[in-house]
């Protein structure tokens, strides 16, 4: 019962595979279908397969993407003119099903956080947002079918069309998380922490703060995730130098240190779910288009964060 959202996800990815097969105009339809079918298998059976089999599954996904077996679908189901006509007919009510997903998340989170539902043990707190997402999707689909009366397989085909527009990039974030696991097992964090530890300037608070901040940014950019960088930088510089040696305020070193790492998240393709997938979703020509425009926000923000660390951490 707890993993019902994985069952639903497997079903939806299997539907992308079905839609890919149906897309007869696409010469690479079988590659697309195989890719989504493997993702569906991962959702359904991942916990039963065992680590090695999951590893093989990963290699199969990588192989399909590596030999360019995936391709975009050619056409769109309805023309722009038809869509214009539909939009005039249905008007603002079209937003309703789209807003059901956030609305379900909103109400559900409130109910879960502020009612006894949390202590009832019915839903695992760790997966509550995922369960709510699944519930929202199901309600929105039912409502859309009742109201718009599309052809029976329309949701399958439209979902598949979008999934194939994103392509392999859709599993890149998960793949990077797996890389993070290998990095951790290989002790990369300890190595980088030791490297940072060797270059610490003792005696200058500002330089130590600067190194802590830049270390967070660089390590976050490498790992694609500030969560992986934080414990390492805290162990190397945050606790021994900034908090113990220089007497900095721990809450600032912790909270603002993490946010400094987020500036790195804005600047790295390794944070694929935020930076690469949207480029595919929005059909940008440059796959690094989102990262590129974020740099001009990230750098001034990084300067602000380092100043906050320095002044709020040591001088307030």
């Amino acid at each position: 019962m707890t993993d019902i959202h994985y069952l639903l996800a497997g079903l939806i990815f299997a539907s992308f595979a079905v839609s890919s097969v149906r897309d007869t105009d696409n010469p690479k339809r079988w590659g697309n279908a195989a890719f989504w079918a493997l993702v569906a298998v991962s959702f359904w059976l991942g916990d039963i397969l065992g680590d090695t089999a999951n590893g093989v599954l990963v290699l199969a996904l990588v192989g399909l993407a590596g030999v360019h077996a995936l391709g975009r679908s050619a056409g769109e189901s309805t023309s722009t003119e038809e869509r214009q006509t539909f939009s005039e007919r249905y008007g603002n009510r079209l937003f309703l099903p789209a807003l059901i997903i956030p609305f379900t998340a909103f109400i559900g989170t409130l109910l879960f956080t502020y009612t006894p539902l949390k202590s009832s043990g019915l839903i695992d707190p760790k997966s509550v947002t995922l369960v709510l997402l699944g519930v929202g999707v199901v309600i929105a689909l039912i409502l859309s079918y009742v109201w718009l009366r599309p052809p029976p397989l329309a949701a399958v085909d439209e979902g598949g069309r979008l999934a194939n527009a994103i392509g392999w990039a859709l599993v890149l974030p998960q793949m990077l998380a797996a890389l993070g696991a290998v990095f951790a097992a290989a002790g990369i964090g300890t190595t980088i922490g030791a490297l940072a530890g060797e270059v610490i300037p003792h005696g200058s608070v500002f330089l130590a703060v600067l190194l802590y901040g830049l270390g967070m940014v660089v390590f976050t950019m490498i790992m694609g995730n500030a969560f992986a960088a934080f414990p390492v930088m805290v162990a190397a510089i945050g606790v021994p130098i900034l908090i113990h040696e220089d007497g900095g305020r721990a809450a600032v070193i912790g909270a603002v240190g993490m946010l400094t790492g987020y500036c790195g998240t804005l600047m790295t393709p390794m944070a694929a779910n935020f930076n690469i997938v949207p480029a595919a979703l929005l059909e940008l020509r440059n796959q690094y288009g989102v990262v590129k425009v974020q740099v001009a926000t990230a750098i001034p923000l990084l300067i602000c964060n380092i100043l906050i660390l320095y002044f709020a951490g040591f001088h307030l």
Binding site: A177, I188, I243
Partner: protein
Amino acid sequence: MIDYWPLVGIALVVLGFALRFNPLLVVAVAAIATGLLAHMPFLKVLGVLGHGFNENRTVTLIYIVLPVIGLLERYGLQQQARALIGRMRGATVGRVLVLYLGFRQIFAALGLTSVAGQAQTVRPLVAPMALAAAEKEHGELDEDTAEHVKAMSAATDNVGLFFGEDIFIAISSILLIQGALKAYGIELTPFELSVWAIPSAICAFLIQASRLLWMDRRLRRRGR
């Protein structure tokens, strides 16, 4: 003596991304190289990779929204988002996105991080609205400008999320900070930490909002 060899894996990632090889391939090669250089047997590396992939399925789960979004797009959702903005007076691309930034940060600060996102809101609603606002004021956009407006829409969502969520006391990153410091005997409450996320959140809003309003000005100048 520290063994620096596994760091070669990081270099492979940077190189592979820079040379624009397929990123999935780059990541897999880097993972296997890193593991082997750290003296792990191949099957062990494969197992760690497979385990890591399986444990992180939730990252991919968000795309179950695609059938809903696709279905609504078939019936003109993007066109309707454009029409809505077209009827609004005084809506510029910068102002539309500043408004979205504010909402995104406030909602994230209340712990409601998943009410919006790149797939749920940016693709079907925010980006079409931003494009419509830009077209309304400046006429047909050239390809570079349209690309920039879309990229800024995605960026605005990211900035709003990252620099709003840590104000919420029960978000995973706050719990991670608390746990990491606790390991060194430093006891902090989530509230003490989340308060210190506020100054950065304000800076993030000011920086991103000025850039968005600056974009309005630049588009206007180009139009003349």
